[in-house]
Subunit: 371 residues, 2 copies
Amino acid sequence: MNDFYAILDTMQKQSVVFFTPGPAQLYPTVKKHIQTALETNICSISHRSKQFEEIFSSTIANIKKLFNIPKNYHVFFLSSGTEAMALTILNCVDTESFHFVNGSFSKRFFKIAEALRKEPKKIEVDFGKGFDFTNLNIPQSTEVICFTHNETSTGVFTLLKEVYPLRKQYPDALFALDIVSSAPYADVDFSKFDCVFFSVQKGFGLPAGLGVIALSPRTMQKAIDLYEKGGNIGSYHNFPILLHYAQKNQTHETPPVLEIYLLGKVLEDMLDTGIKTIREETDAKAKLLYDFFENHPRWSVFVKEKKLRSPTVITINTGSETAKIKLYLAEKGYIVGGGYGEHKETQIRIANFPTHTMEQMKELLKAFENF
Amino acid sequence: MNDFYAILDTMQKQSVVFFTPGPAQLYPTVKKHIQTALETNICSISHRSKQFEEIFSSTIANIKKLFNIPKNYHVFFLSSGTEAMALTILNCVDTESFHFVNGSFSKRFFKIAEALRKEPKKIEVDFGKGFDFTNLNIPQSTEVICFTHNETSTGVFTLLKEVYPLRKQYPDALFALDIVSSAPYADVDFSKFDCVFFSVQKGFGLPAGLGVIALSPRTMQKAIDLYEKGGNIGSYHNFPILLHYAQKNQTHETPPVLEIYLLGKVLEDMLDTGIKTIREETDAKAKLLYDFFENHPRWSVFVKEKKLRSPTVITINTGSETAKIKLYLAEKGYIVGGGYGEHKETQIRIANFPTHTMEQMKELLKAFENF
């Protein structure tokens, strides 16, 4: 892979489009917002100032608006999606969590619960596969059921309408949902979930370093109960401490102020475009990509079952040609992701995020065609 | 205080110098480095790529070089100084920590240990005071002794040469040191400490969102022992996991890549200037400030004992004039910090970081004089 990075190095100053599934291409307005932030000293303001409190509250308000999050849910800033997984386990689980594992990130969620000395259970299927949600046997003692909306490692998408009915079957469990690589496309009915999280370096096209988590009142109560029972729910970012500071539009630590500002600005831009438009455009670009690879003579779509195909991370079997294709595309100015884990050398993953235009997708496919 | 923020708002586009003790004035080269980062797509590169690994390893190497950290110490990236406190407690303490409390941040360290269900002990003195390190009675069962090099809330500095002899008195305890607001000025003999941490938004003049921690081999062993005994040492950022990924020049989560890149670049700039020069300049600017306020007819230096006066955070008793002084200075383009906690309305804190030039300090004092 050294050739690949050599090319990347020489290309750094040229016009490049990153189709990698995170960190990804910056959203088109990000550079402008960074300039404004620098001109207005956003990086130097105090995180205990009224200015910061306004940035905090308006960014939270924009998140709630874009995702249509119920008014009584709490929204907090974290450092990453991985941290969100750890906090979900610490704050929602005394003993038992349950995980649907079909790729590296749902497995990470499970492994974090193990590392935290819980007793996680799981259903595990092969990479590229989904789950039969109509035929489950989850212990009723389960405290949180963890779903991954979009497996970034494989491009398998979970249809939320298949998950919603489980709510009645497992009324005592909290429902957690990882939308790290499906947000903001993810159209989640938050009344069906208690704990939903994402990070900003994928679909929002922002520099990495910020996670966001939305919590139902039930989740907050569970964290408080665990703490009062004497449990260790984490310290500087446990849910009650996050709430304590959020009520003042502040954070415990000095937070990544620039990141929070930039997220607020990109959310404004996305609200201007309209989430409906963003979702429709994502679907249209995804259709273009899947149609192309579905009909390709040598390459194929990894996820066989159509309803499981992710609109935001398209995974293609490109076999022994993978390294050569990536090199060829890089020379043309298109950076695509490799496969994940054991599929590293035989698959290509293409991100289809709001930053990517239909025009760019067509040009990318032209380059694939000319390979 | 609304007037103050109103002025801040109208001044945002003007030339302003922040003398606030963090987040602070950006280091002079930061804007240029951000431009370069944007031009070279640093925000879009994969955190599993060779490019990132190079940024990671060169930044760590620069940290070790600037602080003269022993080769066998581990250096990791975190999200904040507050997170560093929590991780220190989780990874170094089964039951007992000991804290020197003389301000809000040393108290935070203590409170985090309490929240994590440990049994922390402390010596507590009034704000503005230091400790008599020659006359201590710390239990020999203490697992970690926590020192705050520079109390950001009060401007009290701890003379490390008074701490070093304790190493022989308490050979079994780990020694932790918070250098959040003294770095990079802090001239630490790392062989006398096991766990030293800072964040980047103060003395390094970088956007907030990154912490750094340096650990002795003993500390790493303690964390491993605690984990193997069945302890909860945290999950996504526990010391063994940080080590696991750092050995590959990577991180568990998607880290703040831009922040790490910027820290590496500012460290290069500081190494070019020379740490000796930075320390000498800091001392010279501190002397100027203390001499001025020491001789002022109405205002006075908060920390009475000269040897305890922080070179990096200068705290002045400005009494009932405080709000008016801050307003006047803001109109002139100088933003200073208020007092901390109960001293909010009666003190001013002035940061003296590497970003601040002697010229700027003289102009600031001229403004104080003309008030």
